[in-house]
Symmetry: C2
């Protein structure tokens, strides 16, 4: 029995393994494809499609034994969902024996009914708590460090995050760095910008109460922020960061302005589309030598597929209704659920190019101010920065697994019965362009955000550090100059829809 | 703000609430129905069906505020899935800092490759462990107590279960009762047979390695056994009982004989069908006064629906292949995944009549010995005892939500486009009868197991204590004599398919 411990294979091992791949894979798969085994046509109908129908869903025992991943993992926070459920949170902390809770929010959410419910619920149960309401929207390492500095002397025995993704992500990092008081900030930050160390012990309980239907951060082990010194968006990602419980109360998302509903919903759309089309987990290399090193962003797998595709269908159906009608409580509830389901999906599969490219797009904003966002400085909301490149991205990725892209187009209501595989990318791109246009107030490409071709080199350079998500992009070269060239063309294509 | 704390409403409150239900629900719903809001026709296509299309999926804010449930919760063990993944288990215990592991198995599994992998994996990482291999198939309270007595003095800091549902369930109870050394055995046992106390603290880590594709116990907080003194099957059910991690290695299920594959798979089939058709969570009463009292068996909900329906489709497709061909590794892998997905589904929704009726069926076995099971005394395997009543059960439950039963029939490949709602039960029953007959070696009703009409009163009396699952049965009366009469007719109908 060979233990799965391995080191980076040397060139000879790689070549042997490659030969083995070609020799033993049936039907013969070309290793130039990023995504072999994803090529066969499934029958119509969503469940048969999810089940693969000839498409390889599982690793084969013994194949590529020492090179490729052979397992996938699924972990998600417990979720409680219901209108009014926020008021139970005091009882939850009491049930877990927490006596001193660090409540994390931002100055806007602090004034909303969600925070009133939280204060009343904690007070009713006699839980001591203190509120940190200085969370910055689109957090920077400096704002995160300030939050950690606040939390450390408070010595909480549990955390409660009430807000959008920025708040929940900040709370995760406060929890992490209070548990590792001697850690350097970069120790846990994703490689290559940080050291990417695994979180090797359980953290304090964290309950997350989302007030937007977008990030799905209430179910994931991911926390994203701007690393100012490197001028890059990065983060920390490990399963142990995930909240203990996500409390999804659709009453709390009623307060989102229409523009926030739209951009949060576009984040959900891209979470589901990117995780659905990410390379399959068994194509990821290298296989981890220890399960603690298996990334949460592990590639598409049979469980994440269920969540991602379901969330995609929901978003297509309910996001337009939710944006259009502030009284459509059903659509808002469905969008909150879709955001959470997409969170489980991408939280266990990953995202790729839309997210990888979005970080320099929002970070290098030439001065665009999105309509409906009442903020003092220029802002490209996260969901907008993600969706703006989506038509170009899926036009690019479609050739590696056209069936999945056709299934996605079908989710947008496109009749795909007579569409050729070669057109899968174009058809999905068109469906996306129409969806964005119908949603309203969305940029029709990077040009509308103020970017020109002169910005492309910087955008490419800003994307390259996103190794963790780029490695999941189907069709993207692993050779740096080729990869840059592909990204250049992607940004060019994303200039106008 | 009214806190959700409540006591059992008195008659006046009940009447007012009932009036409110009738007055404010749109369309007007008759409280005599167990399942209002489940009546409208969804469009064809599985995702629209899952999404309800007019069917009420969520509680409405403020409606029935003090009577009915308004939230649902979803919790599942982390799952790792892949051929060969068993050998990682030593690293997992090392990663969590465990130094003394109680390994639980049975005498058959103890000799299989799965246990060899486990011993090697633990030894390689220098983990101390001791193996308890005396687990009884279909455990009794006496066998559970013997296992607990073994575990207590060993003082493990973690548990590892390697086997089928009996092993995993026994390990859960060893974990529970070593954490509560002063508890009476009945304290946590489901009411009304036991006190049904909530498990109010976290237990030691438990990793479960299933060797059958059936119970889904690796993802649930449920443990089932025979309570000999009461001549009833019962158990303990609480989220805190669920394993930390389920390690699903399809290599481990290869060793199942065909008969075990079939009966385990029929358990999966009924888990998915029963949780899919259980009453919706928002019809369950009373709403719990504290979230710790919200049962895991909470009724069908929008997240469990996804798992249950997906598992149903998989089982219909892959169970026959898995039973027929011992070399069909794809079908076996899919069945292991389906068992786990169904576990998440019923673990967060519940089962109802097939399971409720199965306990007296297997407990009062007149002497039936199932083909292919090499055991010394008569045995009706759990999956067989569950599936034998399924045609009668779904014929009975269909009138309360015909659309869900039609969707289930469609999952069996039935063309439902011209089927009337009134025929939903009959059509699903026929699909089930054909499925069982095609699978082979299955009893064609209770008569084939040796039951006659003279046994019916005892079977009914043995079903009544299963309050926890009966409360989720759509269409079953809450009035005892009426309920008994309905059960009598169900057992009569289950005599021959």
């Amino acid at each position: 029995m060979t233990p799965p411990i391995r080191v980076i294979p040397n060139a000879a091992q790689r070549a042997t393994s490659l030969l083995r791949t070609i020799q033993y894979t049936h039907p013969p798969s070309c290793p130039c494809h990023s995504n072999p085994g994803y090529h066969q046509s499934p029958p119509t109908g969503i469940i048969p499609r999810l089940q693969g129908a000839g498409q390889r869903r599982f690793a084969t025992p013994g194949s590529n034994a020492d090179l490729q991943e052979y397992a996938f993992e699924m972990a998600a926070s417990a979720i409680r969902f219901g209108p009014g459920v926020t008021k139970e949170v005091g009882m939850d902390f009491k049930n877990m024996g927490a006596k001193r809770v660090c409540v994390v929010t931002d100055s806007t959410v602090d004034k909303l009914d969600a925070m009133r419910q939280v204060r009343e619920g904690l007070t009713r149960e006699g839980i001591n708590f203190d509120v940190y309401s200085e969370v910055r929207v689109e957090p920077k390492d400096t704002s995160i460090k300030a939050a950690i500095d606040w939390a450390r002397p408070y010595k909480p025995d549990a955390f409660l995050a009430v807000g959008g993704g920025s708040v929940i992500d900040t709370a995760k990092l406060m929890n992490l760095y209070t548990a590792y008081p001697d850690a350097d900030f970069l120790d846990f930050v994703n490689a290559p910008l940080g050291k990417g160390l695994p979180v090797d012990k359980p953290l304090k309980p964290l309950i997350a109460v989302p007030t937007t239907a977008g990030t799905g951060s209430e179910t994931t082990g991911t926390a994203i922020f701007d690393l100012v010194s490197k001028r890059a968006k990065t983060g920390v990602a490990h399963r142990n960061l995930k909240p203990t419980l996500g409390i999804c109360d659709p009453i709390n998302t009623r307060t989102m302005p229409a523009a926030v509903k739209a951009s949060s919903g576009l984040d959900v759309l891209c979470h589901s589309l990117e995780s659905w089309t990410a390379i399959p987990y068994h194509q990821r290399t290298p296989r981890p030598s220890n399960p603690i090193l298996r990334p949460a962003y592990q590639g598409a797998n049979p469980i994440s597929d269920i969540f991602s595709f379901h969330a995609l269908r929901s978003t297509v159906k309910y996001l337009p209704r939710s944006v259009r009608d502030p009284d459509d409580f059903e659509a808002q509830s469905e969008m909150l659920l879709a955001a959470t389901l997409a969170g489980v999906g991408f939280g266990n599969a990953g995202v790729h190019l839309c997210h990888g490219m979005s970080y320099p797009i929002s970070g290098q904003n030439p001065g665009y101010q999105h309509a409906g966002y009442d903020v003092p400085s220029p802002l490209i909301p996260h969901g907008v920065s993600v969706a703006v490149s989506a038509p170009a991205v899926f036009r690019f990725t479609a050739h590696s697994n056209p069936e999945r892209h056709l299934a996605a187009a079908e989710a947008f209501g496109v009749d795909i019965s007579n569409v050729k595989k070669e057109s899968a990318g174009e058809v999905l791109a068109e469906a996306l362009i129409k969806f964005l246009a119908d949603l309203g107030d969305q940029p029709k490409g990077l040009k509308d955000l103020g970017f020109t071709n002169d910005h492309i080199e910087d955008l490419v350079e800003g994307t390259i550090p996103q190794a963790r998500v780029l490695m999941l992009a189907p069709g993207l070269s692993k050779e740096l100059e080729h990869e840059k060239d592909q990204l250049r063309r992607l940004f060019e294509d994303a200039m106008t829809h």
